[in-house]
Amino acid sequence: MLDIRNLNARVEETEILRNLSLNIKPGEIHAIMGPNGAGKSTLGNILSGRPGYEATSGEIEFNGKNLLEMDIEERAREGLFLAFQYPVEIPGVSNMEFLKASVDARRKHLGQPELSSFDFMKIARETSKRVSLDAAFLKRGVNEGFSGGEKKRNEIMQMMLLEPSLCILDETDSGLDIDALQVVAAGVNSMRSPERSFIVVTHYQRLLDFIVPDYVHVLAGGRIVKSGGKELALELEAKGYSWLEDEVA
């Protein structure tokens, strides 16, 4: 699914990721944990092609293709999805119009016919129910005036509609109360399948009570300093990150 080999990356002039390697197979959930400033968000941004984030060396293979050579939208159409830590508000652009354009783009790429507006609306309304968003949100501007939790649920709704093969959740739990967290987690769990993989980037172990990972990696100083099973998250919860940073130093 995704194979990152010896990746070095920088944001503007600052080296953030150092010699990072990570292999993700279909159906797996990998959690990326780590202290603030470890480079967790940079990984998601590099994978999705965010301007300003540059891979200086190393390789990333996504479904057998060279990810780093693809445009932002190509990556999305190929099935890569980044749920934003801070989803953007776009007043004046209706959520429905935006969602339909993205789903159309993905379907076209997969050689599937475009959905009619009517069919799409039906699917969108059903999907909004799955993340407990009132259908009225579909008519509003993209994330316009949404609360933090509503924005995150909107991200999960987009993920459900686009049916990506690789989902990257960038601190999706930040700023969520426990109810919203459960809605988001249930949404993610409902999408688990043998063909779909997840990268769950989080600072806190709490999310991983609800979305149980197959692997946990600790990112510190731009590299993976420790990898393990789901029990590693509990160990981190108990001991914090500093012992690992000390270990590396």
């Binding site: 999705s48 965010r50 939208e73 999305a76 953007v88 776009i90 354009a101 993205s102």
Partner: protein
Amino acid sequence: MSETSPQDFKHLALTLAGAQESAPWLDTLRFEGTEQWLEAQWPGRRTELWKYTPLSSLQRGQFTSWGSAQAYTLADEALLTLDAIRLVFVNGEFDAQASSGDAAGVVRFSQADSTQQALIEANLGKIVDTKRHLFASLSNAWTQDGVLVHVPKNTKLELPIYIVHISTPEAAAATANHRVLVLLEESAQAEVIEHFVSDEQQQNGFVNSLTEIQVGANAHLSHYRMNLEEEHLIHIGGVHINLASDAQYLGFTLSEGSQLKRIDYQICHKGKGAHAGLNGVYLPRNKHLLDYHTNVEHEAPHCTTSEVFRGIIADSARAVFNGRIHIHPDAQKTLAELSNKNLLTSDQAEIDTKPELEIYADDVKCAHGATVSQLDQTSMFYLRSRGLTEKQARTMLSFGFINELLQDLPQQAVREHLHRHLTQLFDKDQFVS
């Protein structure tokens, strides 16, 4: 082609007036207009009201004849689909076949009865402020025909008045003069839609348009004005509105650019408690020059104004926005807001924006502001990360920037027409590339 000197241009314009056959009862207005037009100083770079808008393309135009009704082909859905009293003019000439419906009080000047003539005489050219609007004098000098919308006291016009001005190119560059007079008496209510459109051929005309509006006490007018002409047409237009006590004016204006387009709005709060809402959108591209000047005079207390203009300026186009609000000493308890936001979609695009507040009363609440920005890069990334191409994302964001003003328009036919029309416009490569 070389530029005609201001003096020659003025005289040529008056030669056109001389070629008209007009009713004697309009002579006074035409005569006064002629005098003012001759006396007026020709705008130059030091003329504050015309600082950024040279008239050179007008002076190059050689407009020596009047337009006449020509056959035209309009694109599908170029006109609004709505149930309305419809008055269609082609190059300034009334097109009876394309027009439909009638209502008491809605009449062309040339068909007015003696009572209506008296109403026109008493009001036409009296609402407009010719000192701030040079081409209003010319319009007065050129007055021949026009549309009167007169709504008596406590009367509501059930259907909207839809006035369409179609331009077509002619063998020799020609001129059209459009005149509208709207008189709403006390507690009257009406909706007027002005739609300027051209067939798709390259235009060579000059349109001078002037709309005067008197909203009586407690009367209510909704007014839409759309300038969707082909990019070679020169249009200079003005809308001048007087508001009596507790009158309400809700205006919406949208213009595409052309080689020269200048539109003035002047709103005077004459009676206490009046409200004016004016929203506008301008969309110049290519090498267009598009200038909006608005001026709101608060002469009476307890009046409110809300004005929002947004522009998207593409390619090497230039837009000018000047919004002035003038609070007179007697206009206590005024609430006035003016906002102007601009989106530049290319490095060569230019906006000269100047919101102005002049306040001579001490108990008022006023706010004004202007912003100039480019497309937000984070939003661009967000849309592209969902599979939209860069062009799709730019189109969507640009449309979103003005859609906030479009989506709330109460008149469904206008809203849907503009949505469709602008979607096509934004899909054209040049607009957002």
